[in-house]
Symmetry: C2
Subunit: 262 residues, 2 copies
């Protein structure tokens, strides 16, 4: 695979792009040089764009507001978050009564559903941090035993909190899966489900879409496992010494180089 | 396999017995008819006996006191609980500094160890019920990441609490295994580890020992998986309609029939 920003000969059929946000569009709250123009150029070429993020702590509206503040013109409906993916999954499965066991701010992303903690058809689980205690987990267990579907916004093992590694959402998903003898549907990157639902939103096939990301595991590996081509940028958390066996289909210096590479 | 209390032709080599407590020796706080005499007869025949229970909420001394109150003469050192098994495992692995994340009453079963929550070499996890919250679990996660071994007193998915199914210890073991990327050593029935450690305590080989229990899964299935023969009694939770595919090596009406069956 070419590692230089030369045109990818297999890319001529690309009709859509999935773009990671942090590390691809911006870094440290600032737009990456040339990223705004690149987004505009790609759009003018008629490419369908969706912007992906794994955040589960803020609603889509807040994500859009931050992008607007950085000078990106991105429509709300082109942002795809785990909450969007979960909502798509619920609609697909015809589940209306939802217990949103997540930070309350996410509620606006589930506006079309009936929030029902007593008799939910599905439990959407986000990171509750200190909110995860025996009583809450047992209530979810009871709902799962009564037949509710478990949807996890992601299944990360641990994350940085106050500078140290600490429990993330994943262990609590694992606990509930074990207790109730079920398997959660996980919608955050790098789950294939997330990419499948983003393609559904684009109305394009995997072969017509490329993912652009800085994270070799979550972005590149996840997209390739779901059948998409994956382009890695040398910005954000890009690290040439990453020991992962994943190989991107293309590596470019930054999003600014993408229009010339397609 | 014979289902009647007739002598088992393969039993002539039996030199030791593992006896479950509840449902085998007693039911509802009362000794089962003939059980006390059977224990006495088996002992007079020179059989080595160990009494097994999966309790993780009371120390061995309290279990012994209850048995004494019901008229059983059983030495403390012949009782084998998950705490005993965990202590044996710690000694075998040469681990001295232990965080006993269990009900405080169990502490006396770990008298020979140094209790150390700050830098443990092993975390022994019992059911803490409401004590399981994010902060406690995260502290255990940090200890595991620092290299501590995880020993679980059992890994049951759920149990009855106040008359309804509720989370047991197992889901929290699963959460920690997932978070830290480790596998717990589980010492309660039906784990093969429990039977292996009980045999070590008896100083007998699996082929020389039979397990006597009322629970088809935990007692009979667990013992057979560990290479022991297993005798089921028709007392306690015995249920002839149990759909489990496990087949005991022998089924007897109650412990009173055991001396005549060996």
């Amino acid at each position: 695979m070419p590692a230089e920003p030369t045109p990818d000969p297999s890319a001529h059929a690309t009709r859509g792009l999935l773009l990671d946000l942090e590390g691809v569009l911006y870094e440290g709250g600032q737009a990456i040089a040339g990223a705004r123009e690149a987004v505009q150029t790609l759009r003018e070429r008629g490419l369908e764009l969706r912007f992906l993020t794994n955040t589960t702590v803020r609603p889509r509206r807040e994500v859009a507001e931050r992008l607007t503040a950085m000078g990106f013109a991105i429509a709300l409906e082109h942002l795809f978050t785990p909450a969007m993916a979960a909502a798509a999954l619920l609609r697909e499965a015809g589940l209306q009564r939802v217990w949103l066991a997540a930070l309350p701010g996410l509620g606006e992303d589930f506006a079309g559903f009936t929030l029902d903690e007593a008799q939910p058809q599905a439990v959407v689980l986000g990171d509750l941090h200190l909110g995860f205690d025996w009583t809450l987990l047992n209530r979810v267990f009871v709902a799962l035993r009564a037949g509710a579907v478990l949807i996890a916004l992601h299944k990360n093992r641990y994350c940085r909190r106050d500078g140290v590694n600490a429990l993330d959402l994943g262990p609590f998903v694992a606990a509930l899966e074990y207790a109730a003898g079920v398997e959660a549907r996980v919608v955050g990157k790098p789950s294939a489900e997330f990419f499948r639902l983003a393609l559904l939103d684009l109305r394009l096939a995997a072969s017509e879409v490329a993912m652009v990301g800085d994270d070799l595991q979550a972005d590149v590996g996840g997209a390739q496992a779901a059948g998409l081509r994956a382009i890695q940028v040398r910005t954000g958390k890009y690290d040439p010494r990453d020991p992962s066996p994943v190989t991107p289909d293309l590596v470019i210096d930054s999003l600014a180089a993408l229009p010339a590479s397609l």
